[in-house]
């Protein structure tokens, strides 16, 4: 083994993952073909709320190639209820959540029948031959209407559309004052209602599931972010012994929270494969994906800030209505709660009250989508800070300065009760202002206003932080989340000195294979190329909590460090024994053990061989150098940053064009700057898309009218600007790598930056808000003073 000279951590290593992805030698779930494999296709309800009065399958079963046609009645006894792992309150109402509807459908897109056939074509043809009769029930779509007295009910037996109400009050929690009193006494109060439109995660790889039921134990491949959680939940829901179920997430084409789920189709594929004793595949079409994969956001936020005339905020109150959709999926109810701790953002607010009511509607369930709860919170607070600045006539950056936590005030315990370990908002903001040319742009804005230019310029500010690195298990427990937040890693040192690292994280584009290799290479002093990272297969990576919530590096990466340190500790013992000295006298640098103050040394490779052959080990030391570690953080990590956006708004057409976008993020220490920058870019794209383009729209009957990529508008390369990105670095205190997490930062920060810019461009023309997405028509109507 040769020693790595330049440290790996911090290098822009090109990714190991790319080799197969750029040559087409990929392993998507839909690529899998097993001998005798059958194909599952499902029929989905075209209506949003109805009783199923009959399902006629007689014609479908007679079609060529069809092996079985199943209805809800056929599977009612075995299917169990899809799991919800986050009962946010003791008295939360949760209806049973079938994978296939039995006698009632509650959203358009819900599965009502399933066909198993020899080919995908035959399965599709058979769907067309199934006849379902529905008796319409009243459809509940609008959040406000759903909670009004006498509202039609999604689940009449629950007696209400309210699933749960969750409250945080800093006076009650002892983390701050009384927000209601602060508002009553305030010199200035600003209140706004913001709508977080429904979004569709729209990962590019449609979901796919393959099950090989096996003679003894079953294997399930799924395009999932969470193979470990999936195995646990599937065995719990279906009563399959967990050790008889292996779950594999092969190459997964994006997720963004959308594949953080236990889906009806995973349950159904498993059920029918076991029933028929044959391998079965299900792959969704894009339309199915849009109709039935969970959606994100969909909240109504009423937010009130109280302040003194000098700009000091004295209190904050937030009232949310959160749309659950028709059922509670894996963490549906918890998404708004993740936001609850973020409304106070980077500020030293003294009093805070948050109330959230979770509401059922006849729509597909909502659940995690990139940022999950935190983008919503950041949007509302950053929007209203701009509104307050306008109200007070101060520059929006200045208002933030007057309220934010100064770098010398860390660690800082917020009014929401979190302790932010480190950060430097001044530094990130100063850098962003400089890169952006803030003052010049303000001058140009003034000129265009004076000239009554058709195209007006707007500047949007967003200073954000987020809690990520989910999460301390104890905190999750206190919030009634059903699982822990730790992560696991194992290292196998092979006799030739090559290393296999097994991680419990489950990457699907984030580049863990590369980053984890860098960490191991540094820690053990082995070449980057000598590390193989294994993941995403419960038989190989037996313990893991998977990838979401920007947790992988801060938690999973730390587990890797701890495992490597255990390997080294043992290697040191062995080396000391062989060199006949005390372990305390052994120094380890760049892959070599040396006896302090002597010329005696051994390479790690030699120690590996010695540990492996075990001819001469100290008493009581087991052969081999393998080690494993589990890390449970004792705090979240808190990346932060300042994003500045300049938009040009064509006041004649309402079109918004982003002219420049600058972001300076502080994600702590960086393992691979190239990967970090890529994560920021992707996050920005999704956040900007929420601001300007995307919205899941339903018609009055509850049918999704944006169920194709022709209607649900994802931005193309033409529709996004050039991003100027930079970083400041305050290492996190909460993990040995000093890292904070970057997966969600861009998404969280960018949406309010863009909308603030749009409103800023038009404020002098009387515009106070534009509802998202800020389509040309909405902007134009806002300008005319109509409903925005």
């Amino acid at each position: 083994m040769t020693a790595a000279v330049e440290p790996e951590v911090g290098r822009a290593r090109r990714r190991k993952e790319d080799a197969r992805l750029i040559t087409g030698a990929t392993r998507w779930t839909d690529n899998i073909r097993l001998p005798g494999m059958l194909h599952l296709a499902v029929l989905r309800s075209p209506v949003a709320h109805a009783r199923i009065t009959s399902v006629d399958t007689t014609e479908a079963v007679r079609l060529p190639g069809v092996l079985e046609v199943l209805t809800g009645a056929d599977l009612a006894a075995e299917q169990g209820s899809l799991p919800c792992a986050w009962p946010i309150t003791e008295d939360m109402l949760a209806p049973p959540a079938p994978s296939i509807a039995v006698d009632e459908v509650n959203f358009a897109g819900e599965v009502v029948a399933a066909v198993v056939a020899r080919t995908p074509e035959e399965a599709q043809d058979a769907l067309a031959a199934i006849d379902v009769d529905y008796e319409d029930l009243p459809v509940v779509l609008d959040l406000t209407a759903a909670v009004a007295d006498g509202a039609d009910l999604v689940h009449p037996d629950l007696g209400t559309n309210k699933s749960a109400t969750w409250v945080f009050d800093s006076a009650e929690a002892g983390t701050g004052g009384d927000a209601t009193a602060a508002i009553a006494e305030a010199e200035v109060v600003v209140e706004r209602t913001f709508r977080q439109q429904r979004l569709i995660p729209a990962f590019m790889e449609p979901r796919s599931v393959v099950v090989d039921p096996g003679p003894d134990s079953a294997t399930l491949w799924s395009a999932t972010q969470v193979p470990h959680i999936l195995r646990w939940m599937l065995s719990a829901v279906l009563g399959i012994p967990e050790h008889k179920l292996r779950v594999i997430a092969p190459d997964v084409g994006g997720g963004f929270g959308g594949k953080l789920q236990v889906t009806p189709e995973e349950v159904l594929t498993l059920l029918v494969a076991r029933r028929l004793g044959k391998p079965v595949k299900w792959t969704e079409s894009r339309t199915e994906s849009m109709l039935s994969g969970h959606h994100g956001r969909d909240q109504l936020q009423r937010i009130t800030v109280a302040a003194r005339r000098d700009g000091t905020v004295t209190g904050l109150k937030v009232d949310l209505l959160a749309d659950m959709g028709a059922y509670l999926r894996l963490i549906t109810p918890g998404v708004p709660i993740l936001g609850a701790f973020m409304y106070n953002a980077i500020y030293k607010f003294p009093a805070y009250r948050f109330t959230c009511t979770n509401v059922f509607t006849n729509k597909v369930p909502t659940d995690a989508y990139r940022g999950a709860g935190r983008p919503e919170a950041t949007f509302a607070i950053e929007r209203i800070m701009d509104e307050l600045a306008a109200e007070l006539g101060v520059d929006p950056l200045e208002l933030r300065r007057r309220n934010w936590i100064r770098h010398d005030e860390f660690p800082f315990t917020t009014v929401a009760g979190l302790t932010y370990d480190t950060g430097d908002y001044e530094a990130a903001t100063a850098r962003a202002v400089e890169l952006f040319g803030y003052d010049e742009l303000r001058a140009e804005q003034a000129r265009r206003r004076a000239d009554h230019d058709t195209v007006q310029l707007g500047i949007g500010v967003s200073t954000y932080t987020e809690m990520c690195g989910l999460a301390p298990s104890r905190v999750l427990g206190a919030l009634r989340y059903g699982a822990g937040g730790w992560e696991h890693a194992a290292i196998r040192v092979l006799p030739t000195g090559k290393v296999e690292l097994i991680t419990g994280t489950s990457p699907h584009g984030q580049g863990h294979v590369t980053a984890w290799s860098q960490i191991v290479a540094d820690r053990l002093g082995v070449p980057f190329e000598d590390v193989e990272v294994l993941h995403g297969d419960t038989r190989v990576a037996h313990r893991g909590m998977d990838s979401y919530g920007s947790r992988s590096l801060a938690v999973g990466g730390t587990a890797v460090v701890l495992a490597a340190d255990k390997v080294l500790a043992k290697a040191r013992t062995v080396a000391a024994h062989l060199m006949e000295c005390s372990p305390d006298d052994v120094e380890f640098t760049a892959g070599t053990f040396a006896v302090r103050g002597t010329a005696t040394s051994m390479s790690l490779g030699e120690v590996v061989v010695a540990a492996h052959v075990a001819h001469n080990l100290p008493d009581g030391v087991e052969p081999g150098l393998d080690a494993e570690a589990t890390f449970d953080p004792d705090n979240f990590s808190y990346p932060h940053g300042t994003h500045l956006c300049a938009v040009e708004v064509d006041t004649e057409t309402g079109r918004v064009v982003i002219r420049s976008y600058v972001c300076v993020d502080d994600v702590g220490k960086v393992v691979n700057p190239m990967i970090v920058e890529g994560q920021v870019h992707g996050g920005l794209a999704q956040g900007i898309a929420q601001a300007l383009f995307e919205e899941a729209v339903h018609d009055e009957g509850g049918t999704l009218t944006t169920a194709t990529l022709a209607d649900y508008l994802l931005p193309s390369a033409v529709d996004l600007p050039w991003f100027t990105t930079d970083r400041t670095e305050t290492p996190a205190d909460t993990n040995p790598l000093g890292v904070k997490g970057v997966g969600e930062a861009g998404t969280i920060a960018s949406t309010p930056a863009v909308v603030n810019a749009v409103v800023d461009a038009l404020r002098h023309l009387g515009v106070r808000d534009v509802e998202m997405p800020c389509t040309p028509m909405r902007v134009w109507k806002a300008l005319r003073g109509g409903a925005a």
Binding site: Q124, D125, L713, S716, D719
Partner: protein, 285 residues
């Protein structure tokens, strides 16, 4: 998703194709580039039992200079139209509009004839063809006839083509030396037009001698903005004159309200985009 099953034939002459379509009756569908038809079949919004592939009809390919006009075969792809030197010189408006259609891959397959026969009111080639006073040559069981563009588009996704009839050629009178502009407004680059304006002008000594303006997606069929043309003709090509003329853009239109825009906004856009299109066409002249 997978289309429902169908039979397939790929005739090599127009006559054979017409015979196949007639024999197949209502359940037969022609396919040219397939860029509009295949998504419809995949979503199973239509399920023909016979698909007649036109791609072997080499007689319908390419652009020909035919004296005062260009004769463009229905199978000419968008990509070929974009690159064709005759089109560039004599029918710039058609090229500019074609540049805005879909994306490069779709332009490699999609055809002018297919786009016109499909008659999507948001399609970008209908208004230019109307503005250019093109004539569409159609061949069917009853023989060949020529239909002026103004009579070809009859309703949403509906044309004057009779059952079994094919669009074979588009005759475009040459407008050499005219200025042209296709002003398209869509929400993202790849999306269809919310509204678009096709304008071509002939300017002599600073005066608009002739003007052709037509609107995309301002009704079930493309609309000729005769009021605008009238107002421009004979007037100096000034900003004020153009603005005044553009104010008449929405005359005779019947825009829909849909998920992308309501009728009021479309009406407004028609005026703004007409002003921009004509202004650009004038400076191109």
């Amino acid at each position: 998703m997978i289309p429902a099953a169908f039979d397939y034939t790929a005739p090599s002459t127009v006559d054979e194709a017409v015979r196949a379509l007639v024999a197949g009756g209502e359940d037969a569908k022609a396919i040219a580039g397939g860029q509009s038809l295949l998504p419809v079949l995949r979503l199973r919004l239509a399920a023909p039992t016979l698909v007649v592939d036109l791609s072997r009809l080499t007689e319908l390919a390419g652009v020909h200079d035919d004296g005062d006009s260009l004769l463009i075969g229905a199978l000419t792809t968008h990509h070929e139209v974009q690159r064709d030197p005759h089109v560039r010189e004599h029918a710039a408006l058609l090229r500019l509009a074609t540049d805005t259609v879909a994306d490069p891959q779709i332009r490699h397959r999609g055809t002018l004839g297919g786009a016109l026969a499909h008659a999507d009111p948001a399609g970008d080639l209908l208004a230019p063809v109307l503005a250019l006073d093109a004539v569409l040559r159609c061949t069917g069981p009853a023989g060949t006839r020529e239909v002026p563009a103004a009579e070809f588009f009859t309703d949403y996704f509906t044309t004057a083509l009779e059952p079994g009839e094919l669009l074979t050629h588009v005759r475009v009178p040459k407008l050499t030396g005219w200025g042209a502009r296709y002003e398209k407004f869509s929400r993202v680059a790849q999306a269809w037009s919310i509204v678009a304006v096709a304008a071509a002008v002939k300017v002599v000594d600073g005066v608009v001698e002739q003007a052709r303006v037509a609107l995309t997606n301002m009704g079930p069929t493309p609309v000729r903005a005769r009021g605008v043309e009238e107002a421009l003709t004979g007037e100096p090509a000034t900003a004020e004159a153009i603005r005044a003329a553009a104010a008449r853009a929405a005359e005779g239109t019947d825009p829909v309200t849909d998920g992308n825009a309501d009728a009021e906004y479309r009406t407004h856009l028609a005026r703004v985009l007409t002003e921009r299109a004509v202004t650009a066409a004038v400076s191109d002249a």
